[in-house]
């Protein structure tokens, strides 16, 4: 069972003088799917970047805990999986090359059965040797999920997870999210009602202005 916990302590973010959100106090202690909603520009992606440790808050702090021990900010990337519209993988490399490169840079041993399962789940097994620049936008989106799940993260952060996907692709992703959330924490930031319906609880960033 996942003993990963995430705590947002009085989190506030300004861009210059513009307030993005203020005083976010949330704890995610149980496995499950949690939502973050709000209109465009409300700061959903910014909040996710802060949670992922790649952006810094103006005030407050974010605490990641695994097995009761606080995780150093520099090591957060080893515990999280991240899917975002802003995420761009290396298009000059094939899907298989991307997987190998990411694994080596992360310092993880290649888990071949896990990689094969991911490629089959996301329907990229047949095209794994094609360069990403020849992929459609939907295939690139599925590739982002493989990238996010490669190292079996305890916290899966999804920003607009079903962007560019057809209905069949969306349903597959929903199924995967439900299964993954049984033993991990999944955070979803989205405007799509169907995405947010998966969540057991949700916060609206408009209420934190």
């Amino acid at each position: 069972m996942n003993r990963y916990e995430l705590k947002l302590d009085s989190l506030t973010k300004y861009f210059g003088r513009r307030l993005v959100f203020r005083d976010l106090n949330i704890e995610y202690c149980q496995c499950g799917i949690y939502g973050i909603s709000g209109p465009n520009g409300s700061g959903k992606s910014t909040l996710l970047k802060i949670i992922a440790g790649i952006s810094t808050p103006s005030k407050g702090k974010i605490i990641h805990t695994a097995e009761g021990k606080e995780i150093d900010t520099a090591e957060i990337h080893e515990r999280i999986g991240f899917v975002s519209p802003y995420l761009v993988l290396y298009e000059e490399f094939s899907c298989r090359e991307n997987i190998e490169i990411m694994g080596k840079i992360r310092g993880i041993e290649p888990d071949e059965p896990h990689i094969t399962r991911l490629l089959e789940t996301f329907g990229l097994a047949d095209r794994q040797n094609d360069r990403l620049k020849f992929y459609s936008s939907g295939m690139k989106q599925r590739m982002k999920f493989i990238f996010a799940l490669l190292h079996k993260p305890a916290l899966l952060i999804l920003d607009e997870p079903t962007e560019n996907l057809d209905n069949e692709g969306k349903n597959k992703i929903y199924e995967l999210i439900k299964n993954y959330s049984a033993s991990n924490i999944v955070l979803i930031a989205s405007n799509e009602d169907s995405d947010l319906q998966l969540c057991t609880s949700s916060i609206n960033l408009l209420e934190h202005k």
């Binding site: 970047k49 990337h77 991240f82 975002s84 490169i101 080596k104 992360r106």
Partner: protein
Amino acid sequence: MKAYHLFRKDLFSEIRNRYAINSLAMFIIVTISVILFSVGEETISDYLSGGLYWVVVFFTGMSGLARVFVSEEERGTTLTLQLIARPETVLSGKLIFNLVLTLAMNIVITFLYSALFPAFVIKSLMLFFITFILGTLGIAISSTIIAAIISKAGSKGTLYPVLSFPILLPLILILINLTKISMDGTPFGEAIMDVLFLASYDVVMLSVSYLLFDFIWKD
């Protein structure tokens, strides 16, 4: 080891995209040709040829070494890197890549320059070799951290030479002086203070790079 894999990623990416290699190769050919044409039939002094050698290195480095971070920013892959590696791993990987690129660039320039400029004769090879290695290291380290800074800025093309000039000027001045000394055939022992200054520059730039990079790398 993670930094080595990041370097390999950049190397294979460069082989496929040729972001920096083409630019560096063109600059080497163009700058050396311009100097050759402008000198014409005139005979240039030994010291001047030594100075111009580093001018070629400096301007060639300006044209291609910033690509190491700028290409990630332009392709939008910075976020990917942020999600797979610690900042110091990223800096180390990029530094190794720029070091290899600068070394290759300087070797090509040295051979071409020696072949095309008869005045460029080194009498103290040991001193020049140490100058060359420490100079290459200094240019690679400085270029990498400047590239990281400017990759986040809007007008990257203008900012790189503007930032590079004050940071690389002390390095270039000492390199020109050491090259002049090695052309005179002065024994290594007599140039030890300059060599130590050069080594100190490299150590200071390396330390500053690792201290600053975390702040530069995060949004």
